[in-house]
């Protein structure tokens, strides 16, 4: 009897953990419909860039690298959206136009760096 109760407790706990994970994911997706980390590899410093896998209704894009290289963050499309922000080692750019845009991070430092980008809708 006690073994049966213990087994049920363990099974119940396992179910609770899975449910908690599902709820956490559902909450995360409700807060941010889509997000994408991209880049994370070395690029040249003469305006080379890392780019998101596709276009989405991104409103936020950020870039980062070790040290303080000149970075430029961009959200753009081929119609008329094109926002760019420059910073040292970190940059962020916002676009509230609601259009599909692509996200990029450029290295303008003159030397190679590992550059990472992250964008979300």
């Amino acid at each position: 009897m006690s073994k049966l109760l213990r087994k049920r407790r363990l099974t119940g706990l396992a179910g609770s953990l899975v449910m908690a994970s599902v709820l956490a994911l559902a909450t995360a997706s409700a807060a941010s419909a889509f997000s994408e980390g991209y880049g994370g590899y070395e690029i040249c410093g003469s305006n080379c860039y890392v780019q998101s896998g596709g276009s989405h209704t991104f409103y936020f894009n950020e870039g980062s690298a070790r040290g303080e290289p000149y970075l430029a963050c961009q959200l753009f499309n081929t119609s008329h959206a094109n926002q760019v922000t420059h910073g040292y080692g970190y940059c962020d750019v916002f676009y509230y136009g609601g259009e599909y845009v692509t996200a990029r991070v450029y290295d303008q430092s003159g030397t190679s760096h590992v550059v990472s980008g992250y964008a979300e809708t």
């Binding site: 099974t11 997000s35 305006n47 000149y70 970075l71 922000t85 970190y90 450029y106």
Partner: protein, 202 residues
């Protein structure tokens, strides 16, 4: 035997939860963690997303002191602790950017950001905002043709409202800090390679 099966379920569920927790933002932050803390590395200590620098420092945007407005409609505020200052931009109630730097980074002139509106239907506005080193009361923006324009420092911060340089036209290259007695207190470059203020859309 059945109890072992239940334990396996528990361990499996735990592993699934751990993997899920590590996916996405958590994995991105972990992948970007580093030992020497520049602005990017400091930000990478927390999950990516808006207000990342603020979150990594433990500052709150709601505590920012309003400083000035920009031509693009954004308002700029300042929030700080003993080691770090953050210049925040907002468009109405929406967060629109952050520039955080330690006092030593500010002294090096590495607390300047430039926002360029490069889209075709826009006003082609360029906003240069930043934090000035202690002792600077004025900032001179130096152009590639040797000309300059000046602005005053407000609560340690400054702004230049302008437009993106046209192709082959003179463009800003750096700033000079000017002390209250009019003497130069040093110079700093802008975080831009040459005249690459706007970037292509192809």
């Amino acid at each position: 035997m059945k109890e072992k099966g239940s334990r396996k379920s528990l361990f499996f569920a735990g592993a699934v939860a751990a993997v899920l927790a590590m996916s996405g933002a958590g994995a991105y932050a972990a992948a970007n963690s580093a030992t020497t803390a520049g602005p990017g590395e400091q930000a990478a200590t927390v999950a990516p997303g808006p207000e990342r620098q603020l979150r990594s420092i433990g500052l709150n945007a709601s505590e920012a002191k309003p400083l000035f407005s920009l031509s693009n409609g954004e308002s700029v505020g300042l929030v700080a602790n003993e080691q770090t200052k953050c210049l925040l931009r907002a468009l109405g109630s929406k967060f629109a950017g952050e520039t955080c730097a330690t006092l030593s980074e500010i002294a090096e002139g590495h607390a300047i950001s430039i926002s360029d509106e490069c889209g075709s239907p826009g006003k082609n506005l360029m906003e240069i905002t930043g934090l000035a080193p202690a002792g600077a009361s004025e900032v001179r923006l130096i152009s590639s043709d040797g000309t300059s324009q000046s602005t005053s420092v407000t609560s340690g911060a400054f702004k230049f409202d302008g437009t993106n340089p046209a192709p082959d036209a003179p463009y800003p290259t750096g700033v000079e800090w000017v002390s209250a007695n009019g003497s130069s207190a040093g110079t700093a470059g802008l975080p831009v390679e040459g005249d690459h203020f706007c970037e292509p859309t192809s």
